[in-house]
Point group: C2
Chain length 399, copies 2
């Protein structure tokens, strides 16, 4: 039988989705599973988006342009304008989710052997896309004890080699919920400028910053605008993860040209999702504010409750809707599996993402999990109760 590729073999399974078969098995046994593993909010998609779907008056669901519908790109430009992100319509390339934006950014910027530096823990799929491109992700550890702040810039500089092509940040951060300060963003900017690097900036959680300070986009940083590759998605801000609409935004002419080749090869981003996304941009501020307030409340509730559990610790996430939690267990991978396979509390269990998959440094995050606060407070309360009981019952507890 012919052999599969090395690439596919070394690619890690997603820490977010790897345990799905165990969760499905639990559900088949009649166990209620609280999904804290995945950033799939229970918040409704905007009415404007759902209505647009019902009024698609087309006889043929045809290809869209490879870079997306012009009307959507125009709306996106306006949207970015409200954040003082000054981009032209032609700088915006619509992609199949933020995922494809990351893949195309790596494919068009990195050759096999090239390196990018990423603070860890980091969104696990960056690794998968880097492996797809044959590139190497080099990580700078940030630590839960320092609240996942940006590691000192010297730590990045130590890792820069002739193979280094860029720095990648996710801000607000998935999985940590960390939000970079202006001071940190300027440090990153100086680094990128000094070493002539790309700055890949994943800003899909822009709407969810829990401080009053204005949001800092990579495009706000002076004098590096052609080095910025912005990754965006409508999934999280409008709670429409399933429509698979994202964007890659760049002012680097050569890069734009090359990204377009990858876009043309896959023909077009999903038409229906683009229609929903475009309509969703018109959702009133009241929708965005209600969603925001909901997360603020969930965040306070989840963090307060978690920190009450003996041996648990999580810093306050300042953005996004994730938090990394240290648990009093020997091995969070085993614990997460055990919760799904061997435990239930009154017919319920929790599905968490083991944090080890968000680190590349061996052994890091071993007693940490990522939790998404994408469930309503009542469900979160039940999930926390289940977690508390699970921690009492788990044979590998360390407290």
């Amino acid at each position: 039988m012919p052999q599969v590729s090395q690439r596919g073999t070394i690619m890690p399974a997603s820490p977010i989705r790897r345990l799905v078969p165990l969760a499905n098995a639990a559900k088949n046994r009649g166990v209620k599973v609280y999904h804290l593993n995945i950033g799939q909010p229970d918040v409704p998609t905007p009415e404007e988006g759902l209505e647009a779907l019902k009024h698609i008056d087309r006889k043929v669901l045809e290809y869209s342009p490879s870079d997306g519908l012009l009307s959507l790109r125009e709306k996106l430009k306006q949207y970015y304008g409200t954040y003082n992100i000054d981009v032209e319509v032609d700088d915006i390339i619509v992609t199949t989710g933020g995922s494809e934006a990351v893949l195309f950014a790596f494919m068009a910027c990195l050759d096999p052997g090239d390196e990018i530096i990423v603070p860890e823990p980091a969104y696990a799929n960056y690794m998968a896309f880097a492996i797809s491109a044959g590139a190497k992700i080099v990580t700078v550890p940030s630590s839960i004890d320092e609240g996942f702040a940006l590691p000192p810039v010297e730590k990045f500089e130590e890792l820069i080699t002739p193979k280094t092509k860029g720095i990648l940040i996710c801000n607000p951060n998935n999985p940590t919920g960390y939000l970079y300060t202006m001071k940190e963003m300027l440090q990153i900017r100086d680094l990128v400028k000094k070493h002539d690097l790309f700055l890949f900036s994943d800003e899909v959680y822009r709407e969810f910053c829990y401080t009053g300070a204005p949001y800092i986009s990579a495009f706000h940083l002076p004098d590096i605008e052609e080095q910025v590759v912005l990754i965006d998605s409508v999934s999280k801000r409008y709670n429409e993860c399933g429509i698979r609409i994202g964007a890659l935004i760049t002012k680097h002419k050569e890069l734009k040209k090359n990204v377009m080749k990858f876009c043309q090869a896959r023909l077009s981003p999903p038409l229906l999702g683009q229609i929903v996304a475009e309509a969703s941009i018109d959702t009133p501020k009241s929708y965005m504010l209600a969603t925001y307030n909901e997360y603020v409340e969930r965040r306070k509730f989840l963090i307060d409750q978690l920190n009450k559990i003996p041996g648990c610790y999580t810093p306050i996430p300042m953005g996004a809707f994730y938090t990394v939690v240290k648990l009093p267990v020997d091995d969070a991978d085993k614990f997460c599996e055990w919760c799904l396979e061997s435990f239930d509390y009154e017919g319920q269990t929790v599905f968490m993402a083991p944090a080890s998959g968000f680190y590349t440094t061996e052994g890091m995050g071993r007693n940490e999990v990522r939790m998404a606060y994408v469930l309503c407070k009542e469900e979160l309360a039940k999930a926390i109760k289940v977690l508390e009981e699970a921690l009492k019952a788990y044979p590998g507890r360390t407290i």
Copy 2:
């Protein structure tokens, strides 16, 4: 400024979409452009699919499973059953269009430097996906004078090296419309078996075979079932190219596992497209038959008319809805550009895909174009008239 990747630079621009800016400019000048360049049929999407859209009763447009909705995969299994393609639900992985199926097949089977052998002319984007995977496409030329029949098997064998991992066929063929005979399919089967290769079989035009003989899928070939990687898409059979739903089908366990890692990395295929695709499978046979009959008629019309034009020649395509046409011009790339930039006949022009982009052998297809008969007969008649006039006026004509 940081440099883009070599990969992006060597990637060819799509011969199908490369000239889109010229077409847009022509339209902006008020010229009517007949699109023969792209496989975007004007045939309506099934009512069942369009209706399903209007009745999506979901409050949250959430992620679907990474391998697609179970209900869709079950329907697809039934659909394949009607073609005696005997696959299990778990063999079917739903992808974002057939495009992603090709990309994931290459990513999961091929490492940088690996080779696959493909008869040319071939669908241009195979090349793009191979470059994405760092793999090399090695081509065996087929020729218009032999009606694009499968080249002798010895020609394939001459190209097999230790780096060869697979053979790729597209059947019915895009761009040639060729349909492999049982004899040819068995030759391919023997080759794949003898050398323990993957057989990548792109069968997205399965519905459009213009002979009475039963369709031969790669999965019908004896004793190589674990070597077959079937690429499929609903785009063409239900005229819903924009929904971006395809499938990768394999019985190779290790491959399935590895493809799933790529699927999980990009989270999920488009939810809305899956709902439309699932409903479209229920479209009555009368819809499929009407579409089929429409293409039969267009094919006859187009081929007869083209072969009447002095210096033009095209063999009869036996499947799909494309044909490769030899034109009496010095350079089809220049001619196609000239039609869009410098020519109109009574305010109309034609957009064709230069065939050079479907060949990798330098110089091949230089006076050939690919035409898609995706327009109604009345429009095709006008397009042919325009082509005839263009050939009279073109300064580089050879007749």
